[in-house]
């Protein structure tokens, strides 16, 4: 993962609640065995019209939304399945940050592991950004702030470890592999202290 310190972009709004992972990437596109190339199917059934052309009703197809890397979405974004194809598709489509007042756990965890900022704001601040799309924001990962065009800053919560990994491009698998000796010790200890079951012969 590349280090991510800042996202600077105008916003586009998706003012719908409960945007689920089937909306973000329909299941029929999950037969891929790659991570790359899913951007063309991001929001597929929403974004394209029946004839395959762009659906003008889809908010991200509007002229003013072009080039926006920050999406402000309604409450409970990313609910539904655990498919990591959802953040892969959004990143490949050019989105670098999603802001909502509530983001589903698994989606958020998947997003942050791939360098897609998934930011939860309090209701009132979220509402302000949702109601006023098109403004230029600066998201500062180190400071955990979103700075608006008028200079105000909204703070957001980001787990210290996730922040560290984003800022330094740290790969979490490497962190786990470094704990190998502790995992060995745990396997020994668990066998003694609690009932463990081998799952295969």
């Amino acid at each position: 993962m590349k280090p991510l310190t800042e996202v600077r972009s105008r916003t586009a709004a998706l003012p719908f609640e409960n945007i689920d992972t089937d909306r973000i990437i329909p299941a029929r596109f999950l037969t891929t065995t790659q991570r790359a190339g899913l951007g063309r199917h991001a929001f597929n059934d929403w974004r394209y019209a029946a004839d395959g052309g762009d659906n003008p009703e889809f908010p991200l197809n509007r002229p003013e939304a072009q080039g926006c890397a920050i999406v402000v979405a309604g409450r409970n974004f990313g609910c539904g399945s655990s498919r990591e194809h959802a953040p892969w598709a959004l990143l490949d489509y050019g989105i670098q940050a999603v802001i909502s007042s509530e983001i589903a756990d698994i989606f958020r965890s998947n997003a942050l592991k791939n360098g897609l900022l998934a930011i939860v704001l309090p209701e009132a601040e979220h509402r302000e950004l949702l109601d006023h799309p098109g403004q230029e924001l600066v998201i500062d990962v180190a400071a955990r702030t979103i700075t608006l065009a008028d200079g105000r800053a909204f703070a957001f919560a980001l787990d210290g470890f996730a922040r560290h990994c984003l800022l330094n491009g740290v790969d979490q698998l490497g962190f786990l592999l470094d704990a190998g000796a502790e995992i060995d010790a745990y396997e020994q200890r668990a066998q003694d202290t609690r009932y463990t079951v081998e799952t295969a012969a």
Partner: protein, 469 residues
């Protein structure tokens, strides 16, 4: 030590390293279930880094999402929906061979939906941590396991290290007391619960279902309840193990035997939440308030008793959902013409679910113009159902009796409905387009679904069956 919930106990027993302000905890995983859709990229990563699978003996693989539910044609070829779907299955076969993982493939009796396979084997056991690259992993919580869905990057973490980086979730007690009314089952119960706490109500929490109505449920019913925890936003939901749990597990292929069994049961009994243990959230529900329940919108929190009118839209979001479903607030849902009925999925594809649907269909016919698919959760369930003649009931009624798999729950294998069609489905998600572009999905129990198939419209099962008797 102070009073702990079952969630605390399982969590504490699996900590390789405790969390700190700066770093998440390292949680050991006992059982890792994998399938073809969410693993190829994880194996690629392992290969690129030259890493082995740390504990292949703790991984069980199956084929379910992209697999056809129709048998091979005369040429012996399976009717995959696409070359990509077939390739994905072949990749999992190759990955399992290369990394020494046990695959329940095309020739296995245990091939089937990943969340049906684990319990059926007795591989799913109380007190375990269980993960799978699939959000309905919570199903295994029915056994008193801490089971949750993970993304593909995390699948790679578990393959390589048998561990995950996790922060401890919050706890949420869902108390359901009293007795369910006759004809009301686990699916009605969980839809009712989601309607109360909302689709985001469980976010950040693990749910513990408790109370006399929960204790009275069979293991199959408990699986239906825990399965849909994610539909309330919770990554996991569980039920403390008890005699019902142990009776289900005893004698299963992967369950402990002999002295091991006795030791295991002693340990499992110690897992229940201590009296007085505190939860971050709690809700109390009276089982007697629950009737046959059905969804009318585009997320599983938009539920109503089947006999009630659809509530008026409270905001733009609900208005949009109703417009998609082509329903209007205030109208009755009963009487709506149905195009397709699907009985299957990890929510409702076990033998008891098939029996429930067959009880309605026996001696009756699927209404003209309605297509009904019945898809067992595993090869074994298919065989058991056939041994008791359920397949004959379904086919005599005019329903399609298929091979095991996820099928129309997710529509990845080509089993989908057409745009605009109304599907009454025993699965777990009614999202827009889940069962095919433009398809309208109504979630219900096997009983309600089977009644809809016979009536050709959504009908109150009590009124319909009484009238028809």
């Amino acid at each position: 030590m102070s009073a702990r919930t079952i969630i605390d106990k399982i969590w504490d027993a699996h900590l390789v390293r405790a969390e700190t302000a700066d770093t998440p905890g390292i949680l050991y995983i006992d059982l890792h279930l994998i399938h073809e859709v969410t693993t190829p990229q994880a194996f690629t990563e392992l290969r690129e880094r030259g890493l082995p699978v740390r504990r292949p003996d703790r991984v069980l693989a199956t084929l379910d999402h992209s697999t056809p539910t129709l048998p091979p044609g005369p040429d012996g070829k399976r009717p995959y929906a696409s070359a990509d779907a077939e390739n994905q299955v072949r990749q999992l076969e190759a990955n399992c061979r290369e990394f020494g993982i046990e695959l329940n493939g095309w020739d296995s009796d245990h091939r089937g939906i990943v969340h049906v396979m684990g319990p059926e084997y007795g591989a799913t056991q109380p007190g375990m941590t269980i993960v799978c690259g699939d959000s309905h992993t919570a199903t295994h919580g029915a056994f008193g396991a801490l089971a949750f869905g993970i993304g593909t990057t995390e699948v790679g973490h578990v393959l390589a290290t048998q561990c995950l980086l996790q922060r401890k979730p919050k706890t949420f007690a869902i108390h359901v007391d009293g007795r369910l009314r006759p004809g009301v089952g686990a699916k009605d119960l969980i839809l009712h619960v989601i309607g109360i706490i909302g689709v985001g109500g469980g976010t950040g929490h693990v749910l513990e279902y408790r109370g006399s109505a929960i204790e009275a449920l069979s293991m199959e019913e408990r699986m239906t309840v825990c399965n849909m925890s994610i539909e309330a936003g919770a990554r996991a939901g569980l039920i403390a193990p008890d005699d019902t749990t142990f009776a289900f597990l005893e004698g299963r292929e992967r369950a402990p035997k002999g002295a091991d069994w006795n030791r295991a049961v002693t340990y499992w009994r110690s897992l229940a939440s201590d009296p007085g243990a505190a939860y971050d959230s709690e809700v109390h529900i009276d089982a007697a308030d629950i009737g046959p329940t059905i969804t009318y919108g585009t997320h599983p929190g938009m539920v109503t008793p089947i006999s009630a009118a659809i509530p008026a839209a409270r905001d733009d979001q609900e208005a949009k959902a109703l417009a998609y479903m082509r329903f209007t607030g205030g109208q009755a849902l009963t009487g709506e013409a149905v195009d397709v009925v699907f009985v299957g999925s990890c929510t409702n594809s076990r033998l008891s679910d098939l029996r429930e649907a067959a009880d309605v269909l026996r001696g009756r016919r699927v209404a003209d113009g309605v297509r009904m698919l019945v898809v067992p959760g595993s090869v074994l369930i298919k065989r058991e159902a056939e041994a008791e003649g359920l397949d004959a009931v379904f086919t005599a009624a005019g329903a399609e009796w298929r091979d095991a798999g996820c099928s129309m729950c997710i529509g990845m294998n080509g089993d989908i409905a057409r745009p605009g069609q109304l599907v009454v489905s025993t699965s777990n998600r009614n999202f827009e387009g889940r069962q095919g572009p433009g398809v309208r999905t109504v979630l219900a129990s096997p009983r309600v679904a089977a009644v809809a198939a016979v009536a050709g419209r959504i009908a109150d099962p009590d009124a319909f069956l009484e009238h028809a008797a």
